[in-house]
């Protein structure tokens, strides 16, 4: 039973990260390889605040989210005007900068040895609550006018500008929100996994978040969540084939993009209306 609980914790943690990536990539079409940087910022801020400065635990979480928002603002300010490929590389550079900075500031962050001995203060209820709240926020955002504007930005930026959508402001809002969610996920990560190091989440892991979003379907939050749950719990259950997990994911993505490019779930969302499918027979 303990094992299943642990798997659930890890899966939900990563699903929070996927939701953050979904907001950026699935909803607004911003490809960012720097999610790992925000995760590290959130994790290290929370851990160092708790262990070295002995701040109360909720304050550590709030501080981590605040740092994520601040760094997101600073990084997003100049980079969101760039073309998609440039943005991808600049965020990659940001992720590498964070990693190099964490390695360099060894007195504060422990350098390559990381920070160990973080107590386990987050249990399953907190994680489940977090994931429910974040899913609700994402779903409400997606269905609102803001969400529709973001989808328009994703599909055709020039047309969105012509329709009067303030593209830069929307992108900035999404970027800050996504970095806040990722930093929060990072802070949770520190207190659940109890050990963090600079190489925790490199650019490939960030790329995996984007890929999971695309497999699930960019138009479907359900798709992102389900794919994330399947991928991360699969990895935990089948530990003996863990090395092949990423190869299988890559094959799945290639199959999906070639044969079903709208993603496995397409436009389908898990809403009560969609579940009662026998009601649709009317008219």
């Amino acid at each position: 039973m303990e094992f299943y609980l642990k798997v659930l914790e890890i899966t939900c943690l990563h699903t929070i990260l996927v939701l953050g990536a979904y907001l950026m990539t699935g909803l607004t079409g911003l490809f960012s390889l720097g999610q790992g940087g925000f995760l590290s910022i959130g994790a290290y801020t929370a851990a160092i605040a708790f262990l070295k400065f002995n701040l109360p635990f909720p304050a550590c979480l709030a501080l981590a989210v605040g740092m994520g928002v601040l760094v997101g603002f600073v990084i997003g300010l100049p980079t969101l005007r760039l073309h998609r490929d440039y943005f991808l590389l600049v965020t990659f550079g940001f992720g590498e900068m964070v990693r190099a900075a964490l390695l360099h500031l060894a007195q504060l962050t422990g350098g390559a040895l990381g920070v160990a001995g973080i107590p386990k203060l987050i249990g399953l209820p907190t994680i489940i609550l977090s994931i429910v709240v974040i899913t609700l926020i994402t779903a409400c955002l997606k269905r609102s006018r803001f969400g529709r504007n973001c989808i328009a930005i994703r599909d055709d930026e020039l047309a969105a500008t012509l329709m009067g959508i303030p593209v830069y402001r929307h992108k900035m809002t999404v970027f800050i929100l996504s970095s806040a969610i990722t930093a929060y996920g990072g802070a949770l990560y520190a207190f659940v996994i109890m050990f963090i190091e600079p190489n925790l989440f490199n650019w490939l892991e960030s790329a995996k978040l984007i890929i999971i979003t695309f497999v699930g379907g960019v138009n479907s939050i359900t798709g992102a969540i389900v794919t994330s749950i399947v991928y991360y719990s699969f990895g935990e259950f089948f530990r003996f084939v863990d090395v092949w997990r990423d190869v299988l994911l890559a094959f799945a993505v290639l199959l999906v993009t070639i044969f079903r490019s709208q993603g496995i779930f397409g436009n389908w969302e898990l809403t009560p209306g969609n579940l009662l499918f026998w009601r649709r027979k009317a008219g």
Partner: protein
């Protein structure tokens, strides 16, 4: 910094920069024609590094022979990647983002495949020559670096000749300007794209072999290609010459900085400088500014 150290690092930097330049050109060729960032190039480089290792260790341990074999194999692997990964979605008229996703997936596939099958150990290339360095006054000139530099120079000159003077080169340049018009002129665009991937594959093969020879082969060797991609961006997305210059600059800057301030600060400095450069001049050194038309 001491003058001899400066000269030494300059030389190392130019050789390293040569490899970055090769990567940048291989990346830029695909970008010019299909207008997307081909991250699968790093997968190609990794495959060729491993291939070169196995050829050199198990089959025949001669530098020139294995280099040529790896290069040719790299070209064919490039065409294979194009046929399996990019052609199906291109024929279906996929949006640009899907190409990017596929290319990142291909890179991840190769890296994790090697990590899964051959493990995370290092594989060292065999020693190709007895004395790996000779001394020129105060400098230690590494023969490997010298070889890398000369091979890079020869390959780039060859590529320039192909692009400027041969029919396939002219067809490539035509396709870079507009992908559909050459088909109106009677040129088979599918063949052009396959040839572009072949050439990029050849470049990737050489890069993989040289990188594998210099740094030992492990699954993450493909990540070094990212420096080349960055060089291509700094040089200007549309320009191969700019990519070469930027690659050399990046190599030299990295070598000099590492000698001066150490490895982790160098990373911060280099990425920070790229950040600033892209802010001030997003089109790079020699690129054209993007105008998105309706």
């Amino acid at each position: 910094m001491d003058f001899s150290v400066l000269l030494q690092q300059l030389f190392n930097g130019v050789s390293l920069g040569g490899v970055y330049a090769l990567e940048a050109v291989g990346f830029g060729l695909i970008f010019n024609i299909l207008k997307f960032s081909n991250f699968s190039h790093s997968g190609l480089v990794a495959i060729c590094a491993y291939l070169g290792y196995f050829l050199a260790r198990q089959v025949y341990s001669n530098f020139i022979v294995t280099l040529i074999l790896t290069t040719v194999a790299g070209g064919f692997i490039g065409v294979l990647i194009e046929k399996l990964i990019f052609r199906p979605i291109r024929l279906k008229g996929a949006p640009q983002t899907l190409f990017l996703v596929n290319s990142i997936t291909a890179a991840m596939l190769v890296q994790q495949f090697f990590s899964a099958t051959l493990g995370d150990d290092y594989f060292p290339y065999p020693e190709f020559m007895k004395q790996t360095a000779f001394h020129l006054g105060n400098l230690t000139v590494s023969k490997t670096y010298l070889m890398m530099l000369s091979i890079t120079a020869v390959v780039l000159l060859l590529l320039t000749w192909v692009i400027r003077r041969t029919r396939i080169g002219i067809a490539l340049r035509a396709a870079s300007t507009d992908i559909r018009t050459p088909s109106l002129m009677g040129i088979n665009v599918d063949h052009i794209i396959s040839s572009a991937f072949f050439m990029a594959g050849v470049l990737g093969g050489i890069t993989g072999y040289l990188l594998g020879m210099t740094y030992n082969v492990d699954p993450f060797i493909g990540s070094m290609i990212l420096k080349g991609i960055i060089a291509s961006i700094i040089g200007g997305m549309g320009s191969l010459g700019g990519g070469v210059i930027a690659g050399l600059l990046l190599g030299v800057a990295e070598s000099l900085l590492i000698a001066e301030i150490g490895s982790s600060l160098t990373q911060i400095a280099v990425y920070g400088a790229i950040f600033l450069l892209l802010m001030i001049r997003p089109e790079g050194i020699a690129g054209k500014r993007y105008i998105i038309k309706a």
